[in-house]
């Protein structure tokens, strides 16, 4: 297969397969969770479920409890999550993809800014990996699954950076490899902890709801 | 490119800024010429210039004391810009389209000099001219050899 055929494939059938697996897998898991339902609580409600639930979705991001996680984890976590958000959603060529599929678009950031943020994100992700390997507790708790999730997340960042800067191979090959790495992420996504990107809304709401029902802080 | 103006394509001054770096390169080459006598040539074709930038560059370089016209395989224009030692050489084909443009930093562009091969051919032609002048019957003023 020539590099041009490779690019045509990843932009065509490759992307189709990946999006079908991603969407079907994700919705399957979400609905499986939703179908579990909740046991009816016969006690009288002492507060509002919904209000507490919704508030908790946001308040969990504020890390007010000092026992949550280390300063490093919190800071690094914020940096690479925001970095991922910016590089995926605020880069003009990516916005075009969302516009093509979902029909919505929004303004983009200059590519030099995206470029710098990509570098910062990649470095932070390596730092996060180092922390996982170095910290005895986290290392003990880590399974192959954790490393796989890390790998499929950092790969598009690295391949995207290389494609943008044209390092090593031809532009066609680099772009095709980048798109393929994204497809890998999409295919693996529903079967890993990466689904937290969507399930976090359910779990945070649920925690807030059960506390709110009992009239306590969540 | 003036021809594009009729299609409403505006030539912006902003954002591409290729003129300054080229002028710096010229300055550097001129200094080198003064210090060491080494010449330099910049091929304007190899640099992606936005519409209007090439003209801006040429306007900045301006005109100096020398303006020479060359007629070989179509016209060529060799001018010394207002900066001595900085020459602008533009080659046109027989249809007056530009086929090459160079900035030469030199005391005299090579193409202005008389070329040895041409001079040898000219010597030959001159000798033939003198011979034909001496023979009255074949007083043919048109020399058979062109340069």
């Amino acid at each position: 297969m020539t590099e041009v055929e490779f690019l045509i494939w990843v932009r065509g059938p490759g992307f189709q397969i990946a999006s079908v697996i991603l969407v079907a897998g994700l919705l399957l898991r979400l609905f499986e969770i939703l179908m579990m339902g909740r046991k009816r609580n016969l006690a009288e409600a002492k507060g509002s479920e919904m209000k507490s639930g919704l508030r908790t979705i946001l308040s969990r991001s504020l890390h007010t409890s000092p026992t949550r996680s280390s300063a490093f984890s919190q800071t690094a976590g914020y940096i690479f999550h925001i970095g991922l958000f910016v590089t995926i959603l605020l880069f003009a060529p990516h916005i075009l993809v969302f516009h093509d599929i979902f029909g919505v678009k929004w303004p983009s950031l200059p590519t030099t800014v995206i470029d710098a943020i990509t570098v910062v994100t990649i470095i932070t992700m390596f730092a996060v990996l180092a922390h996982r390997l170095h910290n005895p507790v986290i290392r003990f708790l880590s399974k192959p699954h954790d490393y796989v999730a890390w790998f499929v997340t950092i790969l598009p960042l690295i391949t995207g950076y290389l494609a943008f800067h044209r390092v090593g191979l031809s532009a066609t090959s680099l772009l095709a490899i980048h798109i393929l790495s994204v497809e890998l992420l999409m295919v693996v996504f529903p079967f890993t902890k990466l689904t937290h990107a969507f399930t976090l809304f359910l779990s945070r709401w649920y925690n807030g709801a059960i506390s709110g029902y009992r009239g306590v802080e969540s | 490119m003036n021809a594009l103006a009729q299609f409403n394509i505006q030539i912006g001054d902003e954002l591409t800024w290729n003129v300054q770096p080229i002028l710096h390169e010229v300055r550097h080459a001129l200094k080198h010429l003064i210090d060491s006598g080494e010449t330099a040539i910049i091929d304007l074709r190899s640099i992606p210039l936005a519409p209007g930038e090439e003209q801006k560059l040429i306007d900045t370089l301006g005109n100096g004391e020398v303006h020479a016209g060359l007629n070989a395989l179509g016209p060529s224009e060799i001018i010394e810009t207002r900066f001595a030692g900085v020459w602008l050489v533009t080659h046109y084909n027989e249809e007056d389209s530009i086929i090459g443009r160079f900035i030469e930093i030199t005391e005299l562009p090579d193409i202005l000099r008389s070329q040895r091969e041409d001079m040898i051919a000219a010597l030959d032609a001159l000798e033939k001219q003198l011979i034909s002048d001496q023979v009255p019957e074949t007083n043919d003023t048109t020399s058979e050899a062109d340069q």
């Binding site: 932009r11 179908m35 029909g103 590519t111 | 409403n8 992606p48 080659h91």
Partner: protein, 366 residues
């Protein structure tokens, strides 16, 4: 088209001089040639020296399943001086579109040129070669594939001009009804230079010929068989609109404000980032302009399969198929499966509950 045989023995320098071109003219030719070949001006004296001594090769030009755009590109005499010079200095012994002879005379001329210059002539091909049915494209009753294979036998090198000859071009686009293939698909024992483009820039065609004449060897080629001197850079790398791309300033549609200001055409489907050609520096019509400068996104015409690359107006980052439709189906399937599994889980739980037997103290003491 064929010049008389006495000229064939002259070196290129002698041939030019015999046409009345002065040394100054020759220097001008070398300077503009160096510029066209994207060589440093410091190379001009070397080029002059090399061309002075070069021999004039015989060239046999075969036109197959093509639109003749490549020949037109070459002979549209905008840059009459350079192109006609090249034409006059090579010995174009066969070109069935340009030559006066036709039919059996033309074929006889081709055979004669092949015999006379066996092992030394350059074979230039434009157009793809149909294999589906050799009768789809014939010249003087000879199928393209037969003529190609026969003529290639004594060629020193092959130059495939245009995307059709280099990669199959438009006939090769889906569904390829004629079974079109490229020159490289058929010839494996001769050096091939691909000069793609739809059409290629005229000075690139002649530049490759000149390069061959100057250096006597084939130029350095990239992975797709293209001379690096002309195809070594992507359009994107030399595009003057690059600062707009970097700043995130794009034209959203044709003739909008951004387009009028000359902003980047990425969103309109420009294939500049993945296309390798000399358009951004050498430009067209003697440096007048090139598609992007005139407001149209690059088609990617010097790349293989550019016709099937997802559409000229679809940006490079966008998937080529209808993903929205696929996602709708996938959503339906995912939700259905999730609900079904959920129901199964519930049923399993209910039946497990039903089957649940209370444990008494007696069971434990057993």
């Amino acid at each position: 088209m064929t010049t008389d045989s006495s000229h064939k023995d002259m070196t290129l320098g002698e041939a030019l001089r015999s046409q009345g071109i002065s040394r100054r003219g020759f220097l001008k030719f070398c300077a503009t040639t160096a510029s066209m070949m994207a060589l440093s001006p410091a190379m001009i004296p070397k080029i002059a020296q090399a061309l002075e001594q070069a021999r004039r090769p015989s060239v046999i030009w075969l036109s197959f399943q093509e639109c003749t755009g490549c020949t037109e590109s070459l002979t549209r005499s905008y840059s009459a001086t350079i192109e006609s010079l090249i034409f006059n200095t090579i010995s174009l012994d066969y070109h069935h579109t340009l030559q006066a002879a036709a039919g059996s005379h033309a074929e006889a001329a081709r055979k004669a040129a092949m015999e006379e210059n066996y092992g030394k002539y350059l074979m230039v091909v434009d157009g793809s070669i149909p294999l589906g049915n050799p009768g789809y494209s014939t010249i003087a009753g000879i199928s393209n594939v037969d003529m190609l294979m026969e003529t290639a036998k004594g060629a020193a090198a092959v130059i495939a001009v245009g995307t059709c000859a280099s990669y199959g071009g438009i006939p090769h686009a889906k569904p390829n009804p004629t079974g079109a293939v490229s020159v490289s698909d058929l010839i494996h024992d001769k050096p091939i230079i691909n000069v793609p483009g739809c059409p290629p820039i005229p000075v690139v065609i002649t530049g490759v010929l000149t390069q061959y004449l100057t250096f006597g060897v084939l130029p350095e080629l990239d992975d797709l068989g293209r001379p690096k001197a002309f195809f070594g850079q992507a359009i994107h790398d030399r595009c003057y609109r690059r600062p707009f791309y970097d700043k995130g300033l794009f034209a959203e549609s044709f003739d909008d404000e951004g387009a009028k200001k000359g902003w980047c055409l990425y969103k309109l489907g420009c294939k500049g980032p993945t296309t390798y050609n000399a358009c951004a520096t050498t430009k067209w019509n003697n440096g007048t302009s090139f598609p992007i400068e005139s407001g149209h996104p690059c088609l990617g015409c010097s790349q293989p399969d550019f016709w099937d690359g997802g559409g000229f107006y679809k940006a490079l980052s966008i998937p080529t198929e209808d993903i929205t439709r696929d996602i709708i189906y996938a959503s339906a399937a995912g939700i259905a499966a999730g609900v079904a599994i959920g129901v199964m889980n519930k049923t399993k739980k209910t039946s497990a509950n039903k089957k649940h037997q209370k444990t008494t103290i007696d069971d434990l003491e057993k």
